[in-house]
């Protein structure tokens, strides 16, 4: 306990320094600003804003990026409530009841409850990271190559299980991601694999290009395909203050949503989407009058929004303690840390305690800032949403291009982002999600390296993955997950959990 207090006070002394407070603020502000734009999710937002952190030292850079992340998530909810156009897939659920509340002139309370629920979830998430970080990191020090490999397999399998849409296509996207990830110079032999003789490719494909192309450009083209039919609830945001009744009704959903989100966030491979969907389903099941859902039930905003934010927060746990990203956003954070010269993993906590605890404390500060920043600034975001999409999207593309270019100051990244835009557009048209691909892309080189090392140590004996207990345990869980989704009844159940709440 005293240790926890020591850690947190170190963290707050870092996070509350004037400089870091400023970067946290800029991050939250810019994240919300871009996140509010319809059709732009957190992945594209982070990829786009990443270059502005390049010139910063590691601690402020990561604080700012984390700020961008919750800003973007929060901005997505604002758009969902006001425009019925989710900026990210986890806001889809918020759209259902949030937008209905908006149409009834209650957008204000919806936004306030979503902010308060998110803040509560963020607080719980931050405390959990501080509590579970150190023991988990200690466990991770015991991990050898075999454990790391098995853990990544488990992570990828759970990403597939929880992905919506076709299972097998999600596995295919992971394989393609792994393959794309190993393009570039092989560390062992020095051979530039699949570089096609292009010198830029021998350094590997930049993850910013992949993320931007598939999540940014691919999405924009899909939006343009659908046509501009937006109805903005700008006229009547109404009073922000939720009524006493609103608060009373939201209390339970916020608690339950936070609990659900926390669990889904820690699980490898899971997404904030699943957290918010399952919270919505749960609230609907628990409700005395389920027919209110879909017609502006405040529980349908409070629960999912808390779940969403709790999951966003706790998904940092596997990244910071084990060095394993659990989703597309965390994959981007790995990239950002690598650019800063930090290898994500348990050693961050011991070698750079100020960075680790500073980042955790800044998460809480960032969540608080979002409440303070967003509620008064809602009027500004509303004005922003009035800009027609035809004017907005060229600007979004421009900032993406500049972002991709400034990674290496090379146009090659921009060309690649363009190519991945084409790929992402067709892939999602054919029912293949980009999320698993990005996760595979980041894990590709890590998996290969650990597989090689494990096999070298065991002298080619593949049973090593099963004779070491932790590794075996993780593979058994992975096999179990695969087995249950292949069973027909479970397939139906999964479809229910993932889709039911959407209708």
């Amino acid at each position: 306990m005293t240790e926890l207090i020591q850690h947190l006070s170190l963290g707050f002394s870092v996070a509350l320094s004037l400089q870091n407070l400023m970067y946290c603020f800029i991050g939250c502000f810019l994240g919300t600003l871009i996140g509010v734009l319809p059709g732009i999710g957190p992945v594209a937002t982070i990829a786009m804003l990443l270059p502005i952190t390049f010139n910063l030292p590691p601690t402020p850079a990561l604080i700012m990026l984390a700020g961008i992340y919750y800003g973007a998530s929060y901005g997505g909810s604002t758009t969902a409530i006001l425009v019925n156009l989710p900026g990210e897939s986890s806001s889809v659920v918020t759209c259902i009841d949030g937008y209905q509340m908006g149409r009834q002139g209650r957008a204000g309370p919806a936004l306030a409850i979503s902010a308060l629920g998110s803040f509560f979830a963020g607080c719980v998430g931050t405390i959990l990271i501080a509590l579970f970080g150190p023991p988990l990191a200690e466990l991770a020090f015991e991990f050898g190559a075999a454990e790391y490999f098995s853990m990544m397999v488990l992570g990828l399998v759970s990403a597939v299980v929880l992905a919506h849409g076709s299972l097998i296509k999600a596995v295919c996207m992971i394989l393609v991601g792994l393959l794309l990830g190993i393009v570039g110079t092989d560390v062992n032999s020095g051979i530039a694999r699949y570089s096609l003789g292009i010198s830029e490719l021998s350094d590997g494909i930049g993850f910013v290009s992949v993320a931007m192309g598939m999540f940014g450009f691919g999405e924009i083209i899909s939006n343009l395909e659908e046509g501009e039919a937006r109805e903005v609830n700008t006229s009547k945001v109404g009073s922000l203050m939720p009524t006493w009744n609103d608060l009373k009704m939201s209390f339970g959903p916020i608690l339950r949503g936070t609990a659900l989100g926390t669990i889904f966030g820690i699980l490898p491979g899971s997404h904030t989407v699943i957290a918010s969907f399952s919270s919505y389903t749960l609230e609907k099941k628990l409700s005395k009058d389920p027919s209110r859902f879909g017609r502006g039930a405040i529980e349908g905003v409070a629960g999912p929004e808390s779940a969403n934010n709790a999951a966003a927060q706790t998904s940092f746990i596997p990244l910071l303690t084990l060095g394993i990203p659990t989703g597309a956003v965390m994959a981007l954070m790995v990239g950002a840390m690598t650019i800063q010269g930090i290898a994500p993993g348990p050693q961050v906590m011991t070698q750079k305690p100020d960075l680790f605890w500073g980042m955790i404390a800044s998460m809480w500060v960032g969540n608080l800032m979002l409440v303070i920043l967003n509620l008064p600034l809602i009027g500004m975001w509303v004005q922003f949403l009035k800009i027609p999409y035809r004017v907005l999207f060229p600007g979004i593309i421009l900032f993406c291009c500049i972002g991709a270019f400034s990674v290496n100051n090379s146009p090659a990244e921009v060309y690649l982002a363009g190519l991945f835009g084409i790929f992402g557009y067709f892939a999602s048209k054919w029912g293949c999600e980009p999320g698993p691909l990005l996760l595979g892309f980041v894990l590709g080189p890590l998996m290969e390296e650990n597989l090689r090392r494990a096999m070298l140590i065991s002298r080619g004996d593949a049973t090593v993955f099963f004779t070491r207990p932790i590794s075996c345990g993780m593979l058994v869980v992975a096999l179990f997950l695969l087995a249950i989704i292949v069973l027909p009844q479970m397939r139906k159940k999964r479809a229910e959990v993932v889709y039911e709440s959407a209708d």
Binding site: C172, L179, P394, N409, G418, I422, G431, M455, R459
Partner: protein, 150 residues
């Protein structure tokens, strides 16, 4: 019984995965394979590649068996103009400079929108150039070449 494609989505996706998998697996032939103890650079990608081919084949076969709604129509105009504007930006950034690339990128991509108004596009290209110059050159001090002659 004549074969009929029941899911165009799966048909295309299956073909795509088989092609990508095969490209990587066959491409691995030019690198040493190594052994399970000392894996060469070809080991991991060739297994993954053939794995993708096998699963792609599964998706492909499924497209003849399971019905699915047709994919939405390809929006060629936004696709070409959006990606084209990105490619033009990449081509112009080092030769024409940031401001030139910005103006071209904004106007070309705006052509891909539902409605295009010259006046609006020109004003937004101007405003964007100004903000890009302020943000990246003045505020962040990133080393950009701004104009063709600079």
């Amino acid at each position: 019984m004549a074969l009929k494609i029941r899911s165009m989505k799966d048909f295309n996706a299956g073909l795509m995965f088989m092609a990508i998998g095969a490209a990587f697996a066959l491409g691995a032939n030019q690198y040493p394979m190594g052994t399970a103890v000392r894996m060469g650079p070809a080991y991991f990608p060739s297994y993954l590649g053939w794995g993708a081919v096998a699963l792609g084949l599964f998706v492909f076969v499924e497209s003849f068996l399971v019905d699915d709604e047709a994919p939405t129509r390809t929006a060629w105009r936004p696709l070409i103009l959006v990606i084209g504007s990105v490619m033009l930006f990449a081509a112009l950034i080092n030769t024409g400079g940031l401001i030139t690339a910005t103006i071209v990128q904004i106007i070309v991509s705006a052509l891909g929108g539902h409605e295009f108004k010259w006046k609006e596009a020109i004003i937004s290209a101007g405003l964007m150039s100004l903000s890009v110059w302020l943000i990246f050159d003045k505020a962040l001090g990133l080393p950009f070449k701004l104009f063709p002659w600079s």
